[in-house]
Every structure is written in C-alpha cells, then in structure tokens.
C-alpha cells in the first residue's frame, strides 16, 4: 500500500490539488502552534505524480500549518503507484476518508465529499454495505443518496449546512425547484435562523400559495414584503425568521390566522396577568378551552380565583366563545 516513510520537500507538493480533500475545517491556527513546537508528528499521505510532484491524499491541514510554521519538509507515506491507475485512485479515496473518519466524527458535508470520491469506483449498494469500514458509521441507502445529492452543491451552501443554518432535508426539498428558485430560497435561509421543520414550513407555504393563487413562485420569493423582512433593521435572524413565517402563514391560512388574532385581542382585553392562561381548542377544531394558572400558596391561589371572577364578568370573555 505504502512505500517507505520519507521526508518530502513542501515545494514538491501540489498545494492546489484538493481532489482528496474532505475535511471542512479551515481553522488550523492551533495546529500551526503545535507544529512550531513539535514539528509534524503524524506523517501525511501523498501520491506521487508523473511530473515528480506529489498530491495530498491526507494531511491538507498539517501541510498548510507546516508552511505557516515555516517548515520545509514533511514526513510522508507515499502511496504505491505501481499498478492499475483506477485501483490506486480508489485506494487514495479510501485512505483520505478513513484517515479522517477514524480520528473524529465526520460532518455531513465531509461524508458527502467522501461519498462522491467513492461513487467513482463503486456502487451505492457497495458503499452502504461497507459504510462502517469507510466512514466508521452505518449509512443507509437514503442517507447516501441524499448526501451525494448535497455534495455536488456550491461551497456557500456547504457553509450554510456547517453553520447549521440549512438542514439537509431543506436542501433536498428546494433542489426540486429550478436553479433560480433554489438560489432564492438559499438566500432567504442564509438571512434567517430556524430549524428544519420551520424551513420546510416556509417552503411548503410558499409553494402552496403559488399553486393556490396561480402565482409564480419566483414572484413571491422576490416580493417586496419578503425582501423587507429580510432587510429588517432588527438584525436578529430568529426574529426575521419568525416574521417571515408569520407573514407566509397569514397568506396561506388567512381565516385561521384571523381567528387566532381576534382571539388574542379578546384575551388582551381581558387583561389577564401572564400567570393565567386561557388556551383555545387546537386550531379551534375541538370544543374544549383550557385554563391554567400558577400559585405557590393559598393566598396566591385566592388572589388568582378572585381575578378569574373578575374575568368572568368581562364582556370580552363572551366574545371569546363566539
């Protein structure tokens, strides 16, 4: 598999070739510090090219850090290049994945990159069957397909995944649309922060508003209202996300939203203190309202009951049940 351990001149290594790179971590300051102190203690893996240069199979960060630290040579294991070229490339792919996967848990983007490397040589079924060997974890067919599909996307999308602003299922959903719409959704999700379910809710509601009202999805996504929300002076991404959800929900479910708003207004008119809650039936479908309040002793309990008696006499309470 390997030739002898050698010290290779860094200037012989093609630093631009990142064919086997799967790591997404670009922060290597801590590594530079360590290399300055102790040098590179774990050999990198290199593959010799025809023109007497080397490409990196594993150790991109170590080499970059080594350059920062000012070292001239790196200890390297050289992949044996005698034999079938495809088999050697397959070996390099496996090495690049396992070298990472057996040191730490790979994130989804890294697994996707690893899968893309393997897919050139073996089938999805074979990957699934050997996923523990390659990735140090079990992957099923759906995950493999999903991550492969995400892997081919732009780095900016990968960055959003890594910063937890974009869920894999969200990407798979918006990939069903054309490039322009895909990018508009990406733009939206890059500016708000919310979990996967809420992202999917935004996509579904937008899609269904367009279908219901015979509108172009593009038109909705580029609308002034959505742009205003994204450019809101309050820069809190959670706040913007909630505004966007509320806006779309109001258009998608106008009557339901109106009923909830009226309900909230009546509750406001009742001037109930925050510790007392009156909740309507879920979606106003059932018949039962619920009342809850908190108290820590009998005196507080008595006070709350007295407040409830006052609420009972308030006319807004009657409106609540209309």
């Amino acid at each position: 598999m390997f030739e002898n351990l050698q010290n290779i001149n860094i200037n012989k290594i093609d630093l631009h070739n990142s064919i086997y790179r799967i790591s997404t971590d670009n922060n290597f300051a801590y590594l530079t510090e360590s290399i300055e102190k102790d040098g590179i203690t774990t050999p990198v893996i290199l593959k010799k090219e025809d023109n007497d240069t080397f490409i990196i199979v594993s150790g991109y960060k170590r080499i970059a850090s080594g350059i920062e630290a000012g070292i001239k040579k790196v200890p390297a294991l050289l992949v044996c290049t005698n034999g079938n070229a495809e088999e050697i490339n397959f070996l390099c792919s496996k090495l690049s994945i396992t070298e990472n996967a057996y040191h730490r848990e790979l994130n989804n983007v890294e697994i996707g990159k690893g899968l893309t490397l393997l897919k050139k040589f073996i089938t999805i079924e074979e990957i699934v069957l050997n996923s523990v060997v390659f990735f140090n974890k079990t992957l099923n067919k759906k995950i493999v397909k999903d991550l492969l599909s995400v892997s081919c996307l732009d780095n900016s999308v990968h960055d959003l995944i890594l910063s937890r602003k974009l869920a894999i299922n969200t990407i798979l959903k918006i990939k069903e649309y054309n490039f322009e719409i895909f990018n508009l959704f990406i733009n939206i999700f890059s500016k708000v922060r919310m979990g996967q379910n809420k992202q999917l809710e935004i996509i579904t509601n937008t899609h269904e508003i367009a279908r219901r009202d015979d509108l172009d999805l593009l038109e909705i996504l580029q609308s002034k209202k959505i742009n205003d929300i994204l450019a809101h002076e309050n820069n809190d991404e959670n706040f913007k996300g909630n505004l966007l959800r509320q806006y779309l929900k109001k258009i998608r479910f106008p009557e339901l939203t109106k009923t909830y708003e009226n309900y909230k207004n009546y509750i406001k008119q009742l001037k109930i203190e925050p510790e007392i809650k009156i909740d309507p039936p879920n979606n106003f479908e059932g018949e039962k309202y619920s009342l809850s309040f908190q108290f820590s002793n009998l005196t507080e309990f008595d006070k709350k009951i007295q407040k409830l008696v006052l609420i009972q006499k308030n006319n807004s309470l009657k409106k609540l049940f209309k």
Partner: protein, 367 residues
C-alpha cells in the same frame, strides 16, 4: 379506465360468476397462485395506482363480508353497514382515499354469491333495521356491465323486510337494473359535486348531467334514491355552485323518492396529500385551509366548513324540506349551526336514517 388484464385466483376458476366475467370482458387471463405476483406486477409501474386500475383480480373474499362502517372518533357517524364485494375503483378521483388505503391498490372483485347470501340471511333474521351499502371500498356499479352481482343483490334484498341496500356510484351503469323486481328495498345513490370539481378532480367519472339523467331513469323504474355531497370542496364561488347542483336535483327527481342527502367536507389522511400532488399535478384540492382534525385527518378550518354547510343545508331545506339531510362525520357545532340540532345521544343519527328508510322502503320497523 379500461381493464387491460384479468387475474384469476385459482380457487375461483370453476365458479359460474368467473366464467361470466371472463366471457363479458373477452380478456386473456392469468392464473394466480399467490397474490404477490399481482403486487409485483402493479408495483413495477411508475404509477402503481393507475396500473392497479387497469387490471382486475377475481378472487374470494377472505375476510368479513359484512362490516360496520369504521367511522372515526370525535365526529358523528351514521352507523352504516358495509357489504364487502370488492376493492378499489376504475375511476380516478384525486381525493379518493382508496389510493392510499390499499397497499398496493388492486381492483378486486369478490366472487362468491353463496357466502354473501349466507351473510345477508343472518342479517335479515335480526330484529333490527340495517342500511347496507357496497360503495365504501369500491363503486357499487363499476362492474354492472360485466357482472350480475348488482341484480343478484337487488333480488336478494327484495325478499326481506328489515334492510335496505344502497348502491352508491359515480357511473351511469344502470341498464341491468331496469327489469328487476326490487320491491323498493334498493336505493340507488349518486355522489354529486359541482361541475368544476367533477371536471378538475374526478377523472373518468360520468358527467353531472348524466348522473341526474340516470337518477331520473331509475326513479321511473321505482327505485328510491339518495345523494351524497362528499367531498364538499371549498373554493371561490363554491357556495353558489353547490346551491345550483342542489336545485338541479329537484329538476330531475322528486324529493319524495329521496331517502337522504349526505354532506361531508373534504378530509384526508395527511399521507394522501403527496399522492394527490404527484398524481394530480393540476389539482388545487390540497391547498385549502386545512387543519389537523381530532381524528388526525386534515379538515377544512371549521368556520369555513360551517359557512358552506349552512348554505347547502339551507338550499336543501328550501327545495325539499321533507328530505332527510345529514352530515357524514361532523361535530356538534357544525350540526347545531347548520341544522339547528345535534343528533344525540350516540346512535341517534342512525335511527333518523333508519326511520327514513322504513318510511320510503316499507321496511318493518325495529326502532
């Protein structure tokens, strides 16, 4: 949808009913040892649901012949009884739950009149009134042109006094019903909808006009009638269109011959939605204001349902105050706001419908 392939369960090959259907369809058949053979055949298609509509499987009913309508919790059921004569349907309605109900959906025709006959005999001996229908898991008259099952059932019901048979359909397959001595124990009923809904959501069904014409014909042959507005679909202008359909009913038939008119708004199990979106890309039926109901089905937001109901019920009362109208699976509020009452206690709705059946079909009353 035209049947292109016939599958025969090896056990039904000797049956006369099988021979009749083979003869009428003139189709080559494949003998089936194991149902999985058909499932594989259907599941290999891009659209297994559509494929399932193109092949007919003649087999015995290996389960119960007579079942209670499943209903659902929290909403009022009419206590209907189902005669299980087959599954699935040749027509292709976007909203049809049968698409998601059978795995995979397969057109089964249950051969075996003897077993049906025996099951019905026990029902007919009970001191209770029954409303029995075949239109729950299939359309009651899709096989009328190739099978004598409808006439067998009509004759069977003609000879008893505690039950009515309801044949519920969207077809106009009624020719063989003409000369049967039904003794007024069979009700032919049609699912109705607005022209717009029929056009956009009900592939391969009969037109509204032809349903009305068929209703008029069977009425002239002495049959009693029923109509079902289910699913009521809410869209801009739907109220006027439903009102128009209701008015038209009475242009064609007499309210005195109508046992009941049922009303139920579109509701669906959540997993039906992606199926509709995939199979009916032009349909907008899923994009109403649906909420998750208490029975875990999606339903229109209640005030919207009630608004449409009030108008439909009002129109029925305007043209035919004597006709029994009712909701299929609705709650107390919907009943009270639309009809002004709620059939309480549980079972009351069934009794109201039994009463209508007794009066119209000269049943012996066991109420």
């Amino acid at each position: 949808m035209k049947i292109k392939k016939l599958f025969l369960d090896k056990d039904v090959i000797p049956c006369q009913e099988t021979k009749l259907i083979q003869e009428k369809t003139q189709l080559d058949f494949e003998i089936i040892e194991n149902e999985n053979q058909i499932f594989d055949y259907i599941n290999s298609a891009d659209d297994p649901i559509l494929k399932g509509k193109s092949c007919l499987y003649l087999t015995h009913n290996k389960g119960a012949v007579i079942k209670d309508c499943p209903g659902t919790s929290h909403y009022t059921c009419c206590d209907y009884t189902i005669l299980h004569t087959g599954t699935f349907c040749t027509m292709d309605c976007s909203y049809c739950i049968l698409q998601a109900y059978f795995h995979p959906p397969l057109l089964r025709y249950f051969v075996g009149k003897e077993r049906i006959s025996q099951s019905l005999d026990s029902i007919f001996q009970e001191h209770k009134n029954f409303r029995i229908g075949t239109g729950e898991y299939t359309d009651s008259l899709i096989w009328e042109k190739i099978s004598d099952q409808p006439s067998f059932l009509i004759n069977k019901f003609a000879g008893q006094h505690n039950s009515i048979l309801e044949l519920k359909t969207k077809t106009v397959n009624i020719d063989s019903l003409k000369k049967i001595d039904h003794n007024e124990k069979t009700v032919i009923s049609w699912s109705l909808n607005t022209e717009a809904v029929i056009k956009s959501e009900e592939r391969d069904t009969s037109s509204l006009k032809s349903r009305f014409e068929a209703a008029r014909k069977v009425e002239s042959w002495g049959y009693k009638l029923a109509f079902h507005f289910d699913p009521v679909v809410i869209y801009d202008g739907c109220i006027d269109e439903y009102k128009k359909v209701i008015k038209t009913i009475f242009d064609y038939v007499s309210p005195d011959n109508i046992l009941w008119i049922s009303i139920g708004s579109f509701r669906f199990m959540p997993h039906l939605k992606p199926l509709i979106e995939k199979r009916f890309p032009d349909s907008k039926i899923c994009y109403g204001e649906f909420i998750l109901g208490l029975d875990n089905k999606m339903r229109y937001f209640k005030p919207l349902r009630i608004e449409v109901y009030k108008n439909i019920v009002g129109q029925i009362k305007k043209y035919a105050p004597q006709v029994t109208a009712y909701f299929c699976m609705e709650d107390k509020k919907a009943w009270e706001e639309s009809f002004g009452f709620f059939p309480e206690p549980e079972g009351k709705l069934g009794k109201i419908l039994d009463q209508s059946a007794i009066e119209h079909c000269k049943l012996k009353s066991f109420l």
